[in-house]
């Protein structure tokens, strides 16, 4: 079966017309994983029997002539920090190596109702902390475009799995760029929804005011399809919002936005020293293309941009330090009651040993950073200050998006870097996020689209929109996709 240019919509056509069965499709992708994943390591666990059982259920539905949703029978992968009942959910950490999820994340329950076929759980930076997937306790994932390079992170496994053709789409999570940056590095589409658009119930929490689950796919229409299926308010997540109305969002026939009515803003603060000139060239070319297609492109300003990364690396570790307190060796996961470093027996020792051994370096670094910025004497200077700067960053976006419909920026300041290149310098690794963190702080939706390459290495462009205006973001991406489609 020729899987190369498959999309969800294509697979759906073939399943509906019975040219291919879900079991055949699933076997084909399991075959791709078997062939490629020893080199790429996108998956932490593959569940063939489970996937084939799901596929058989869909095939029975097809045989009964039942109505088939767009995602039914289509193979996908789920990041290993999103819970799928009965399957492992390790968060790529030793502390959860033995943990099996005891319930479905809300988004997973929606996908199962749609008949999606889950092939396995994908690799990530431990507890979603990282920009390269090198912080995984179980080994890094490789970029399918160049195995010496990183796929980005933290959802590197999901991005690589889609890019390598090991599945048709995948779910990841984005707290500071963890869907968009790997999407950019791997040459696929990746969406961070508006904060609150998608339920976080069943997503292993990293930073609760920033986390969002988002899809990876090979076309804009596919992204829209997945997003419509997973979005919506959820009584189990009180931060999920009823504001966004996404029914019918994925019906491309109803996408009526005209390019001549489109106002695009390009923030000058994103095109400064630090942006690789080769990346800038590709990104500017894409923006110019929008202009030649008829859009109005103006330079705008997001003045608090220079403070965004510092703001993020105060707010996020603070929330992490609270969210990771639950990993204590009592209720689940690693529990160090033997082979200890200390001879002492008490509760405190259990905590120290379990967390000391179970958490990797980056996790412990961020937990300590968070503990510091929240502690007495430092709270005002760091955390309270960061919360105020965050408000200003959000205001920047809201102000600009009153004047323009979308903002275009590069996804990453550099091309995908080599494995091992930044692992000695945490700060150098953090700089990979400089173009993505602002959108999480502000809560606005952002989609990374492939817009070209340099020496075979993908370059991503972000389309940023108003809160809950994924519809405009997707339509803009669709315009670009259509204009660049090879017939």
């Amino acid at each position: 079966m020729e899987l190369k240019n498959f999309t969800i919509s294509r697979a759906h056509e073939l399943l509906k017309s019975r040219e291919v069965s879900s079991v055949e499709l699933t076997r084909a992708f399991l075959g791709e994983i078997e062939k490629k994943d020893k080199d790429i390591h996108a998956f932490l666990s593959v569940h063939s029997e489970y996937a084939l059982a799901q596929a058989e259920e869909v095939d029975k539905k097809i045989a009964r002539g039942e109505e088939l949703g767009l995602l039914a029978g289509v193979p996908c992968a789920i990041k290993d920090n999103i819970l799928v009942d009965g399957l492992p959910a390790t968060a790529a950490s030793k502390i959860l190596k033995s943990y099996r999820a005891t319930y479905d994340a809300t988004v997973v329950s929606y996908l199962k109702k749609e008949g999606a076929v889950i092939l396995g759980k994908t690799n990530l930076d431990e507890f979603a902390m990282g920009s390269s997937t090198e912080n995984s306790a179980f080994g890094p994932t490789r970029n399918p475009h160049d195995h010496e390079r990183v796929p980005g992170g933290s959802s590197g496994g999901s991005a690589a799995a889609v890019a390598a053709g090991e599945c048709l789409w995948a779910l990841g999570s984005d707290t500071g760029g963890s869907v968009r940056q790997p999407a950019g590095f791997c040459g696929v589409y990746g969406l961070k929804p508006t904060y609150g658009a998608v339920s976080r119930y069943g997503l292993i929490a990293m930073a609760s005011s920033l986390d969002q689950i988002g899809p990876f796919a090979r076309s804009v229409e596919d992204i829209a399809t997945i997003f419509e299926a997973i979005a919506g308010p959820d009584p189990y997540d009180s931060t999920s919002s009823p504001v966004g109305d996404y029914r019918g969002l994925s019906e491309v026939a109803n996408w009526k936005l005209k390019i001549e009515n489109l106002r695009i803003g390009v923030p000058k603060e994103y095109f400064v020293t630090g942006l690789d000139p080769k990346v800038e060239e590709v990104v500017r070319k894409a923006i110019t293309q929008f202009e030649s297609l008829g859009a109005e492109v103006t330079e705008i300003s997001l003045p608090h941009t220079p403070y965004a990364l510092a703001c993020y690396y105060i707010v996020m570790p603070a929330e992490i330090s609270a969210n990771l307190a639950r990993y204590d060796g009592i209720k689940y996961g690693l529990s160090k009651t033997e082979n200890r470093k200390s001879k002492k027996e008490g509760l405190q020792e259990l905590y120290f040993e379990t967390r000391g051994e179970g958490f990797g370096d980056e996790v412990r670094r961020r937990v300590m950073l968070g503990t510091y910025v929240l502690s007495t004497g430092y709270y005002d200077a760091y955390y309270a200050k960061a919360q105020k700067v965050r408000r200003l960053i959000r205001n920047d976006f809201e102000n600009v998006l009153n004047e323009v419909d979308v903002i275009l920026v590069p996804t990453s300041p550099t091309l995908p870097f080599k494995v091992g290149e930044r692992t000695d310098d945490p700060l150098a690794m953090y700089l990979a996020d400089v173009y993505t963190v602002s959108m999480n702080l502000a809560g606005v939706p952002a989609l990374s689209i492939p817009c070209g390459s340099v020496g075979g290495l993908p370059v991503g462009l972000q389309i940023v929109g108003k809160h809950f205006d994924e519809k405009t973001v997707l339509q803009v991406a669709y315009m670009y996709e259509k204009a660049n489609q090879k017939s």
Partner: protein
């Protein structure tokens, strides 16, 4: 903001993280660099802007004050994940001397 070995030990104690001597040395260096970077935020003028205390503008999200009853068996399933147990009790180290 300069960070000392004692600071690192204090943070590790607060966060219940076991660290080796080598790790303490490494984290001391890392945290110092990172704090120097994020400390630049003090230069941002924030005036009397209202802090953003979360990711959403939603307030007072409530639900009915009703008991939701899960089956006894459902709890068995959760129990499978508990590392140390005796029957349906979670076993913990002694906390009272």
């Amino acid at each position: 903001m300069s960070i000392s070995r004692k600071d690192v030990e204090h943070l590790a104690t607060l966060a219940r993280l076991g660290l080796s001597e080598d790790e303490k040395k490494k984290f001391e260096k890392d945290l110092e660099r990172i704090l120097a970077y994020v400390g630049e935020l003090s230069k941002a003028y924030t005036g009397d802007v209202l802090p953003m205390t979360g990711g959403t503008e939603l307030m007072n999200v409530v639900r009915r004050d009703e008991e939701r009853v899960d089956s006894y068996e459902a709890k068995d399933y959760l129990f499978e994940q508990v590392p140390h147990k005796e029957g349906r009790h979670v076993k913990v180290p002694r906390i009272l001397e």
